[in-house]
Point group: C2
Chain length 316, copies 2
């Protein structure tokens, strides 16, 4: 008990990290209390990260703290919601103070960056497992769902694809050069598209965050919406670093690698045209929604075949 | 992916278990959506159960499903809140269909009994770990906190103590008799005091659910409220089965064993007297709040000393 009281002290400062008048009662009672403003919906999502499955063994605790919260918060971005608070359920094999200090530091940086406050949690002894539930709010009825894509909508993404996936190759590199470091930053410090997501609430017709790879996640939108899509792969945004380091493999990573936490959205062309320029300029149109189920790629280099996407064409 | 899609199918029916118009969007999108009615606060709590720590290895999955949700829902009872929905983050070493069917059955029975609907979740491969977050609502400002106990308030409990703690001795008994079976039922199928808790919202001055033992959990109220208490241990309710099976050890179990998930409440005497009889009759007064910090026991048998309570008298 003393040990776990100690652990909680590492996280106590996070309970006042973001000023937030929605959080009526934070950690320390049987429950926390959130007062959702009238006219807004509560939006929430839970994500678990297991050592050796979702992050490498002995992964730097500071990176892990940031990543764990960023991955969870990205689901709020995909709904167009604004972050409010989160809970942390942490299983630890032992109370290692260096590890705890690093993890709390990364988590704290992320919570300040995303404007989300620790509301409660549970600490238990067990194999290293991190479960975070994030709470946000969105104007009632304006959350971005997966099911709203309609024929003629444009398919858009919010930034370059494939960087974090490529970085998996470099995690053990003792002296990565500048190019590799740029990609590693995408893996260690994903930036959920919170502002962009919130600015598209009630405007985009569907959205998802890209955690499993562009093709796999877009397929979730298509299935939920009962439509298909044509993608122009030549228009898919990729970083210079990815192209230089990965050559012909870059496109495959951009289509199929996860961990980037950009958003994939669909939006009617007239709505897209009417967006304020600063918002519209952050979107790259990569295709359009068609009525027939299935996903068709055009513009691929001759002989190109994706390697990592099992579901390819399965709706045909 | 196919395997985990299969797992989700076991839990899909739980998403429509309780009719609930607050749950605007259930599992299957990036987030779930809850619409909290005007004038009510959202109340939430997360609990993790790890195999070998919080339940025995190879514990019957049906019992585990019930217990996991009951333990979490009990925190809503302690706030005086009414259950709405919950999320399930489940780590499993493998997708064993017998285990999954049993766990889902117990979880489903509990969700129907408590009127709480599955809103979302995450399933990962890893050591068996169950994290459940429960959501409830309470009239704004009427949640029962730990911090409101005042001098003169009566200390009450909602039912017999020590049954589940005693049952830990009998979990491996191949043929338990009727007395032991009665106590085992308390361990396998705890009944969170939801109705009683909700009927005391805005009336009791403080509340906690007894998960770690009466003395330890009452101490949380005393510390949060900055007061002390005198308990008359002769008035602590114990079952006949506990007295018969445990003899002189019964009182110690009633004071220090967890897992019963009754509530401990404090309430002003005039408020207690004004409660409707059907509510008041479910409460047993076991002591009163005093201004001096610390916990004093009176009425104990000659020579009695509690065995399992480290913090005993530490505030003196």
């Amino acid at each position: 008990m003393g040990e776990f009281e100690l652990i909680r002290q590492y996280f106590q400062p996070l309970a006042s990290n973001a000023s937030n008048d929605q959080l009526v009662l934070g950690p320390g009672d049987d429950c926390a209390i959130q007062r959702v403003p009238p006219g807004r919906d509560l939006v929430f999502s839970v994500d678990t990260l297991v050592e050796g499955v979702h992050f490498p063994p002995h992964y730097a605790p500071s990176h892990l703290g940031w990543r764990a919260l960023a991955v969870a918060v990205s689901d709020l971005a995909a709904m167009g919601a604004e972050p409010v608070c989160f809970t942390l359920a942490l299983s630890l094999p032992e109370a290692d103070s260096d590890w705890l200090a690093g993890f709390a530091e990364g988590l704290s940086r992320a919570s300040q960056a995303f404007g989300i406050t620790l509301a409660g949690g549970d600490t238990t002894r067990g194999p290293l497992t991190i479960t975070i539930q994030v709470h946000g709010t969105v104007k009632a009825g304006q959350a971005l769902l997966r099911s709203g894509a309609r024929e003629g909508d444009r398919v858009c993404v919010t930034g370059p694809m494939g960087n974090a996936g490529a970085a998996l190759d470099y995690l053990e590199d003792p002296e990565p050069g500048a190019l590799k470091r740029a990609l590693l930053a995408s893996y260690h410090g994903p930036q959920p598209q919170l502002k962009l997501g919130a600015s598209l609430a009630g405007k985009a017709s569907a959205a998802i965050d890209i955690s499993d790879g562009l093709l796999a996640d877009l397929q979730h939108i298509l299935e939920a919406s009962g439509v298909g899509a044509e993608l122009d792969v030549a228009s898919i945004p990729m970083s210079d670093e990815l192209r230089q380091l990965q050559g012909v493999r870059a496109l495959d990573l951009a289509l199929t690698a996860g961990d980037d936490y950009q958003l994939c959205l669909t939006i009617a062309p007239e709505t897209l045209a009417a967006l304020p320029a600063p918002v519209r300029e952050q979107l790259t149109v990569i295709g359009r929604i068609v009525p027939e189920p299935g996903l068709t790629l055009t513009g691929a280099p001759a002989g190109y075949q994706t390697q990592g996407y099992d579901h390819f064409g399965r709706s045909d």
